[in-house]
């Protein structure tokens, strides 16, 4: 085959056919609040850590749902559990509870 000078870069896109949401489903069972997110971004904008690190609760929920577990955990790493996002969330999502649940399951799975 002719070499056109292009290579395939794996891992950039999300293939929903292969995405593994098993862990997300486990979290849903424990903290069904996670399904309520409307991605308004209030949590990230009010987050004390978000301007210094990549922490974004909204983004991590989406990543978990899409099966991008490792990136989700990275996105939550800077969280200090201050609870400001819980106060601001218009859907009243118990963010703290979800973050702790994520921690419990994912630490085991990803280590």
């Amino acid at each position: 085959m002719a070499d056109f000078g292009y290579g395939l870069t794996p891992g950039k896109g999300i293939n929903l056919d292969d995405c593994n949401s098993d862990l997300f489903q486990k979290i849903v069972e424990r903290s069904p609040d996670i399904l309520k997110c409307i991605a308004c971004g209030s949590c990230t904008s009010t987050c004390s850590g978000s301007i210094f690190s990549r922490v974004s609760f909204r983004r991590s929920i989406l990543l978990l749902e899409r099966g991008e577990n490792r990136e989700a955990l990275n996105t939550l790493k800077g969280c200090m559990l201050c609870g400001k996002c819980f106060i601001i969330c218009p859907r009243g999502i118990n963010t703290r509870d979800i973050i702790l649940t994520v921690n419990q399951y994912y630490k085991k799975e990803l280590l």
């Binding site: 409307i38 991605a39 308004c40 971004g41 209030s42 949590c43 990230t44 904008s45 009010t46 987050c47 978000s50 301007i51 974004s56 909204r58 983004r59 601001i88 969330c89 218009p90 859907r91 009243g92």
Partner: protein, 337 residues
């Protein structure tokens, strides 16, 4: 006083119903708590999406109430059912005996000061959509110089469990776009930013208005809900949000902030609702037992509704509903004769 229908509320729904019921040949009495007819129309300057003056539309409605008797500055003091008829005592001292009752009591705007993080009533340069219409009516912003940077916050008290209103208020998206365009016309040098969660341009001509706001007026739309507003030493406002499409927190200094307050049930009617035993839905608006086929009906025989008393609606929807409920009332009245 004896009537076929007692209409409670002299806004667009009540006024159009009064005209229709008269046309059907029934006797209607319309009561309004304020001194002037028109309801929320009186507070608005121009109407979306075609910028028709609110006063013009209001005059058209108030000029045609048929043979209905109109009583302003009047509220219901007490109401009871006697032999299938409604006996209503008014605050003006009159008593009305009617075969049916039509609630067109409308809605209330969410009290923006309840969202303390937005600083309404704390910071001078934070105003509401309703205050802005006042400014448009007067044609000037008093107290401040020309604002160079202006922001709009969508969904204030809407889609917000903390504000006890989970629902979308439906008409604020297009109202914000309309008001942003009007402000840009008033201050052509200004930069305008709209902070939204979702833009719901569902009606005819709304999407065109949105496109015009983007292209002709250069209004910028940022997808993210404002989380905090604070004031700096010069009285300017510092706004924090997340630009969710870029996934980065944003910060901006503005000279004027407009809060798009949402539509909530009017608590002033709770007395009436209690006395009659009207069933409310979870959202606090009047419950519709037959929402697809009989939107004018309630859980009480002989009590009808039209307009925003059953949730946020656009003006054409309110007018159409007033007409359809009037027809329902007409059919009810002839079935009882």
């Amino acid at each position: 006083m004896i009537a076929d229908v007692l209409i409670i509320g002299g806004g667009p729904a009540g006024l159009e119903s009064a005209a229709c019921i008269s046309e059907f040949g029934h006797k209607a009495v319309l009561i309004e708590r304020e001194s002037q007819l028109g309801g929320h129309l009186l507070k608005w300057d121009r109407l979306f999406p075609d910028s028709i003056p609110s006063s013009q539309f209001c005059e058209r409605l108030t000029g045609n109430t048929g043979n209905s008797k109109v009583i302003t500055n009047s509220n219901i003091l007490s109401i009871k059912r006697d032999n299938g008829r409604f006996i209503s005592k008014l605050t003006t001292g009159e008593s009305v005996e009617s075969k049916t009752l039509l609630m067109t009591t409308g809605f209330a705007l969410f009290a923006a000061e309840k969202k303390q993080e937005y600083g309404y009533n704390l910071y001078n340069r934070v105003i509401t959509n309703s205050d802005l219409e006042d400014i448009f009516k007067k044609g000037t912003v008093t107290g401040t110089e020309k604002p160079a940077k202006i922001g709009f916050v969508h969904c204030v008290g809407s889609r917000d469990e903390k504000a006890c209103n989970r629902n979308c208020s439906k008409v604020c998206c297009v109202t914000a776009v309309k008001q942003a365009i009007e402000l840009k016309e008033m201050f052509p040098e200004s930069e305008i930013f709209c902070f939204y969660m979702d833009l719901r341009m569902f009606g005819r001509g709304y999407e065109d208005l949105y496109l015009e706001a983007q292209t002709k007026y250069g209004i910028r739309f940022i997808r993210g809900r404002v989380s905090e507003v604070s004031e700096d030493i010069n009285g300017n406002l510092i706004i924090k949000a997340e630009d969710t499409l870029i996934s980065k927190p944003v910060r901006i200094t503005l000279n004027l902030l407009v809060l798009m307050t949402g539509i909530i049930p009017d608590q002033d009617n709770s007395n009436l609702i209690q006395q009659l035993g009207v069933k409310l839905a979870d959202d606090g608006f009047v419950y519709s037992p037959d929402p697809l086929y009989g939107s004018g009906k309630t859980n009480i025989d002989g009590l009808f509704v039209a307009g925003s008393v059953t949730g946020p609606k656009t003006l054409p929807e309110v007018i159409n509903e007033a007409r359809s409920t009037s027809l329902e009332i007409h059919n009810y009245l002839i079935s009882k004769d």
